[in-house]
């Protein structure tokens, strides 16, 4: 029954992705002239969820992140390396799905070295051997790479900004796409349990929040519409990650400025 509900939700979301004819706000966010604008179809609900998340952040996550930042640097680096090493379990299958076998090979070697010599990922021993850390990949990025549009912009409770496509990507993790989820929650391996999964996910989120404490505070203070600023930054970031292109000309569109010349 649980499985049927899960797959029904997946199918409904995929339908929404393909035919996103939503009622509601017609506000669109233009990321690039080469891409279709991302619709904020549920803006009112999204803004309410965003406000809820901000409340949770102020009351819980921010104080914890501040405390985390006070930890000695080796501990912070160690936990950051640990969660980064585990994320390879999702990155590697996505490298393969995207046809990037070279990165899949590098990430596999990095995972083996760091899990063994790096003491379950606490140290980035692979980097010391000249194997540089590569960008993370997820199922949302793979779907994007396959040409599936982002669908509507969403703000998820606690988890934050997303799109319909990226939410489907996250659901794939829970449907067998994340080996760490499989060995901790989905299958009873006797070696790991649910708290292992959730504590790792929480550490990952905490590490991100702690690294961005100053920049997010600064952004909030100097924004005239913080919700819109976060939405814009999230969508730009996803576009950049899906393109897997560090070239600046890809993210900037000169024609955006053309009309200014005429003023």
């Amino acid at each position: 029954m649980k499985q049927i509900i899960k797959y029904s939700v997946l199918i409904i979301i995929l339908q929404l992705l393909t035919f996103h004819a939503f009622a509601g706000s017609d506000g669109t966010i233009n990321i690039s002239k080469n891409n279709k604008p991302v619709k904020d179809c549920f803006e009112k609900i999204n803004r309410a969820t965003f406000a809820l998340n901000q409340g949770l952040d102020k009351a819980i996550f921010k104080p914890i992140a501040k405390g985390y930042n006070k930890l000695p640097t080796p501990i912070k680096n160690g936990s950051s390396n640990f969660v980064s090493n585990i994320s390879n379990l999702v990155t590697i299958p996505n490298n393969i799905l995207q046809g990037d076998f070279k990165s899949a090979g590098t990430n596999t070697i990095r995972l083996i070295i760091n899990t063994t010599l790096g003491i379950v990922g606490w140290y980035d021993a692979a980097e010391a051997m000249g194997l540089q850390k590569l960008d993370k990949e997820d199922y949302g990025q793979t779907l994007g790479k396959a040409g599936i549009g982002p669908g509507c912009y969403l703000v998820l409770p606690v988890l934050g900004p997303s799109t319909v496509r990226d939410t489907v990507g996250s659901l794939i993790n829970l449907s067998g796409g994340d080996p760490f989820y499989n060995i901790t929650i989905k299958n009873d391996t006797h070696y790991f349990s649910e708290p292992d999964y959730y504590s790792t996910r929480a550490t990952n989120a905490l590490d991100f929040r702690a690294k961005n404490l100053g920049s997010l505070e600064n952004l909030e203070k100097n924004s005239v519409d913080f919700y819109a600023a976060v939405r814009s930054l999230y969508l730009q970031d996803r576009q950049k990650k899906i393109a897997n292109n560090s070239s600046l000309t890809e993210t900037m569109d000169n024609s955006d400025w053309e009309e200014i010349e005429e003023n």
Binding site: S25, D26, G27, I29, N30, I31, E43, N69, T73, K211, L213, G214, S215, N218, K221, N222, S223, V224, D225, Y227, A228, A229, R231, S232, L233, Q236, D237, K240, S246, L248, T249, T251, M252, N254, D256, W257, E259, I260, E261, N263
Partner: protein, 193 residues
Amino acid sequence: MKTRNIVLTILLYLLFLNSSFAKNPSDFIQEITDNASKILSSDLSKNEKQNKLKDIAENTVDIRGIGFYTLGKFRKTLNEDKKKEYSILFKEYFLKSFSSRLVEYSNPKITVVSEEVLNEKYTMVSSVLAATKDRPEIKIDWRVYTKNKSEPLIRDLIIEGLSLARTQKEEFASIISSNDNNVEILFKTLKQF
């Protein structure tokens, strides 16, 4: 013969004049970041620092251009008087927001690493903000408007691939569109900032 020499001398002089005043975009950015860094690491009060940063921005950033860019399609709905009013409001908002963002950094070390000429009008200058114990190294790219070679101007900052001008444009568009496309609400928001 004499006339030809005079013409040649004038041409060479003009050529020299042009090249001597043309600013290399990388040097332009390095100079700005060095000056900003000096101000931020000085013993000046927060207010004094902000005022000095505002002076730098006024001379090196195309505030008017960014203002109209961030207004997007709504720019066309304004008459000349409203455009003037908007330019004044945006400039005040921009300088306050810009200096307030920067003043939080103490002694930032920015190094220019490369530049890419996009076309005659634009050059992207890439730089890195050195890591501290609290944050990793950050890539900052500067979109420099080079139409007037002797007076380059910054039009955008791209931090880790994310454009600040684009973010600003989408913030403004959100305010206007969620208020029945009433630009006056944006004016009011800028006044209140």
